[in-house]
């Protein structure tokens, strides 16, 4: 599903050029659950931004679903993104002015789903995330765990093929954290590909494979569970 080859990303200020990604290469198969680990500043978040089509690489190739997307402009990236990728952030990134329902509804509005259909799908996903009773609340009125559940609901409401999670349990206590990890595992088992950036060895163990990074490069790769692709990779 994802194949990156010699991916490069620099951040330049007036005086220094920092290399965030240094000829990074790896593949992720459809349905896989991959954890990316490494110390702060090793390039994990940059990688996630590029994989999520939020940012463009400075060099190398990025093939998403068989299409080279490295040179895509913002509009094309946005289009691809909204139909295929869901995001879960450490800080939830819910919009304070919108209710739980409206937050989850947002991706459906942008993909042009009709109101009736939107309501049905949002209700379904809220039900699944067990947060239906909070649908009219605003984010500030929820606990951290509840907020992250809403964020996960928002990430999956469009049935994306890929979920990118950036430290999804970083702001949660352990029991709420475990709940979120269980949720992600369930989604993965239902077929969604997940790439998760994390500092937590505990969370990483939920994945099939751990990629460890340092200074923008891949250092090691540990396969925890042999993942058998349901489709044949070409």
């Amino acid at each position: 599903m994802i194949k990156i080859t010699d991916l490069e990303k620099y951040y330049a200020t007036e005086e220094v050029r920092t290399i965030a990604l240094n000829k990074l290469s790896f593949q992720v198969q459809e349905g896989e659950f991959v954890a990316v680990m490494g110390p702060s500043g090793c390039g994990k978040s940059t990688l996630l931004n590029i994989l999520g089509l939020l940012d463009d690489p400075d060099g190398g190739s990025f093939i998403f679903n068989g299409i080279e997307v490295a040179g895509f402009n913002e509009r094309k990236r946005a289009d691809l993104r909204k139909h295929n990728i869901g995001f879960v952030f450490q800080s939830f990134n819910l919009i304070d002015e919108l209710t739980v329902f409206e937050n989850v509804e947002l991706p459906l509005i942008y993909t042009g789903v009709k109101p009736a259909e939107r309501k049905k799908r949002v209700d379904e996903v809220l039900e699944k995330m067990q947060i239906m009773h909070r649908r009219k609340h605003f984010p500030q009125q929820l606990s951290g765990g509840q907020q992250q559940r809403v964020a996960v609901a928002r990430a999956v409401v469009n049935n994306p093929k890929l979920i990118l999670a950036d430290e999804p349990t970083g702001n949660l206590d352990s029991s709420n954290g475990n709940e979120v990890m269980d949720l992600l595992t369930e989604l993965n088992e239902a077929g969604t590909t997940i790439i998760m950036v994390t500092h937590s060895e505990h969370d990483a163990k939920y994945s099939h494979r751990i990629i460890r990074m340092l200074d923008g490069q891949k250092v090691t790769e540990n396969v925890l569970t042999e993942y058998k692709s349901k489709t044949l990779e070409v």
Binding site: D55, F87, I95, D96, E97, P107
Partner: protein, 790 residues
């Protein structure tokens, strides 16, 4: 989707109460000011245009010059012959009307007395030429007979209450008149303003067509507006032919046909009004711009906090245009609210505005469709300006950057914001300086010693009294305790006109001079200062009664005249002179005095003692003015029982020379204050925002030992710098504008530089006060709190 935008807009409005209400308040004040000033300007621009035939109506201005005059005198009044001759002799003229001010009439209805100051007489054709809304009576024939009078609705109600007025009799100056019509009150933007409109035939004036005196306003209705210049030329050619001999002798008469629609703004009708309207128009637009700038600044400032939201929306796939639409909607919601509140506010404040300006304008000056268009344009332009800028800036961010809430890349919009603050304060300071300078100049005009004392002088129109009657009238007045002096003249020192030329015997040529025949006590009544020679006496006055070849006139010159003739005041005394055939000698020299508005320089003046030129009686009163007035009226009744007295106060007449200046100054005062208020609202909003943004920084600095004063300084200095820059821009600009305006006055205050510093001081003080409220609040906040929230 749009509903979604509105919903978000409403919620974010309610969430950010302070910024929202600041932007809203600024915009509301801006809209109110814009509508009030706009109404005022429109009122002036739309003058008379409501008349259905307005584009074909011309107003006749009259200018004349005698052989000795250096320049022609332009008059708004025309001889009684003009209108009937124009209609009779020129087929291009469809109709013509004379309007005669028939003011200060005593009206009696069933034993009740009313003094009417606002009655006019006009030919019946006025009903054909101008548009009136008749409530009762025949709109075509109401003025077809003598002693027919049309009342405005207010006058009719005043006279007869709820009773129908039509057909009733009223006694005007002891004659019985019949009410033949009742019309809606005059529109405030009509140049015809009256309470009673009588038929011209009621006056003896109608009996003769004369050319040698001018007291009517004449209006012509042309068949085709395009023919105006052509008819004007033909008419003047006709007059020249008619008075061929006079023209050959050097007399000149000229009639200008001014389109009615242009007349009100012409220099003849209203002086500098056009310029002042331009200034006020600029003020209206600038005020609104400043309010919109506040709004833009607060929106951009505030929207930085929403960068994360924008990031999230982008991640969810929001296209850029949808974000732009969202910001525009949010701006639009506030602006719609502001326009609604502002329109109501303008309606509510209109009476106060009218009170202030002494006008009677109404929102009815607006054509309804224009009003709506203006509001829509206002809405769209302000929304684009205030919502468009933040929308463009913020929607440009890459989602990854936006999510990090990285505001450092927003520094660009910060510099635009700074530029906008500089602009606001530049405008404010220019207005402060302008207002201060205008006030000082107008005070200068009011208080400056113009060489004579205009206070407590009542000017009574002698209204055709014979010279003997005038003398007795004078003596009767002087018997009163409350009258200290009485004199007569053809002109008061406010409207002295007339070009003569004076020549010293033995010199080759003379000089042009303004001259007026006066009574012997003119100089003492007006407290003019004799600097050489002596004042007129009875002998001087009686000398001119002798046979013309033996007549010797006594002259008093002003200092300028003496100098122009080449003498010091002392040398001039006794010199034999000749003024347009009047031989005589210089008896005295007066200190220069102003006899026209201070727009004009003092020119040479000669007063000469005369016996029979008593159009105006000037009465110096002492003690209780009301008491004196009633005594004057009693004496008048004894002499002229059948005509009402016409009087005015000399100092008021003088003030009226500056009517448009005074009014503009009043309006400027108020709106300059509003400009500063709105600018400060914006500054306050921004300082609140900046303090919030630098909360963490302030916390850290405080933990590290910064004092409250240091923090306050830190927060205020960047704004203060901007205000200093604004001062530097504003001062030369204000200098240019005020100097240009002052050039219009021959007598003016000299470079009032201290006012510039005063204005600068005011601006900085107000800005500092505004800023310090927030800076001190931020500085004394507990740093632990601000650090914890991060």
């Amino acid at each position: 989707m749009f509903r979604n935008y509105i919903k978000i807009a409403w919620r974010s409005l309610r969430k950010n109460t302070l910024t929202s209400s600041l932007s809203l308040a600024g915009l509301v004040v801006g809209v109110i000011s814009f509508l009030l000033l706009g109404t005022y300007i429109l009122n002036e621009l739309r003058y008379d245009r409501f008349n259905e035939k307005a584009d074909r109506i011309v107003y006749v201005n009259y200018s004349y010059k005698s052989p000795s005059d250096a320049e022609a005198t332009i008059s708004r009044y025309t001889p009684t012959a003009v209108a009937p001759v124009a209609k009779r002799e020129f087929f291009e003229v469809e109709d013509a009307v004379r309007v005669y001010k028939y003011d200060r009439r005593e009206v009696e209805i069933d034993g009740k007395n009313f003094t009417e100051r606002n009655m006019i007489l006009a030919d019946a054709s006025i009903l054909n030429i101008f548009s009136f809304d008749f409530l009762n009576g025949n709109s075509k024939s109401a003025l077809n007979k003598p002693n027919a009078v049309i009342l405005t609705q207010t006058t009719a109600t005043r006279y007869f209450g709820a009773q129908p007025a039509l057909g009733k009799s009223v006694v005007i100056n002891d004659n019985v008149w019949e009410v033949t019509g009742v019309i809606e009150d005059n529109l405030p933007y009509s140049s015809l303003q009256f309470d009673l409109l009588g038929s011209y035939q009621s006056s003896k004036r109608a009996e003769r067509e004369i050319w040698n005196s001018a007291n009517d306003h004449s209006y012509l209705l042309l068949k085709d507006a395009q023919q105006r210049t052509q008819v004007e030329q033909k008419f003047n050619a006709f007059v020249q032919k008619e008075f061929e001999e006079d023209f050959q002798a050097g007399f000149k008469m000229h009639f200008d046909f001014v389109p009615l629609n242009e007349d009100h703004l012409s220099a003849e009708a209203s002086g500098n009004l056009k310029t002042y309207l331009f200034i006020l128009g600029a003020l209206a637009v600038l005020l609104l711009t400043i309010a919109a700038i506040n709004f833009t600044n607060l929106m951009t400032a505030k929207s930085v906090e929403r960068l994360r939201e924008i990031g999230v929306r982008k991640v969810m796939g929001a296209p850029r245009k949808s974000l732009i639409a969202q910001f525009l909607t949010e701006a639009g919601v506030i602006i719609v609210l502001a326009i609604m509140i502002g329109t109501l506010g303008a309606l509510a404040l209109l009476p106060t505005f009218n009170n202030l300006t002494g006008l009677n304008i109404s929102l009815a000056s607006w054509d309804w469709s224009y009003f709506v268009i203006t509001l829509v344009v206002l809405l769209c332009s302000t929304t684009l300006l205030a919502g468009g800028w933040p929308a463009l800036i913020l929607s440009r961010f890459k989602p990854a950057t936006a999510l990090k809430n990285n505001t450092s890349s927003l520094s660009k919009s910060g510099s635009v914001r700074k530029l906008l603050i500089v602009f606001q304060f530049t405008v404010s300071v220019v207005f402060i300086i302008g207002t201060l300078v205008a006030k000082r100049q107008l005070d200068y005009i009011k208080d400056t010693d113009t060489g004579l004392d205009r206070s407590n002088v009542v000017v009574v129109d002698a209204n055709g009294m014979s010279q003997q009657t005038v003398e007795s009238f004078k003596n009767a007045l002087l018997a009163s305790q409350s009258i200290s002096n009485v004199t007569t003249s053809s002109h008061t020192p406010v409207d002295m006109q007339g070009g003569y030329s004076i020549q010293v015997n033995g010199q080759e040529s003379g000089i042009s001079i303004t001259a007026a025949p006066v009574d012997k006590d003119y100089v003492t009544t007006l407290d003019m200062h004799v600097i050489a020679g002596s004042n007129f006496n009875e002998t001087d006055k009686m000398q001119v009664k002798v046979a013309s070849e033996e007549r010797t006139y006594a002259f008093m010159l002003n200092e300028t005249a003496a100098n122009k003739l080449g003498f010091t005041p002392e040398e001039a005394i006794g010199k034999a002179v000749n003024l347009n055939g009047r031989a005589g000698y210089v008896k005295g020299v007066l200190q220069d005095f102003n006899f026209v508005s201070l727009h004009q320089k003092i020119t040479p003046v000669a007063l000469f003692a005369e016996y029979d030129w008593s159009a105006k009686v000037l009465i110096k009163v002492q003690g209780n003015t009301a008491q004196a007035l009633s005594e004057i009226q009693q004496v008048w009744k004894a002499f002229k029982p059948d005509s009402a007295i016409t009087y005015s106060f000399l100092d008021q007449d003088y003030q009226n020379l500056y009517e448009s200046e005074q009014r503009t100054a009043k309006i400027l005062n108020v709106f300059a204050a509003i400009t500063i208020l709105i600018s400060c609202l914006g500054l306050f909003g921004l300082s609140v925002f900046m303090a919030a943004q630098r909360k963490k920084e302030i916390g850290i600095r405080k933990v590290l030992g910064a004092s409250i004063a240091q923090i306050t300084y830190l927060l205020s200095i960047s704004f203060l710098k901007l205000i200093v820059i604004a001062l530097c821009v504003a001062m030369p600009l204000a200098w240019y504008i005020t100097t240009t305006w002052l050039q219009d006055f021959a007598y003016k205050i000299s470079d009032p530089y201290e006012l510039y510093f005063l204005a600068g001081g005011i601006a900085i003080t107000i800005a500092l006060l505004t800023l310090s409220i927030q800076a001190i609040k931020a500085a004394i906040a507990n740093p632990v709190k601000s650090l914890r929230t991060e």
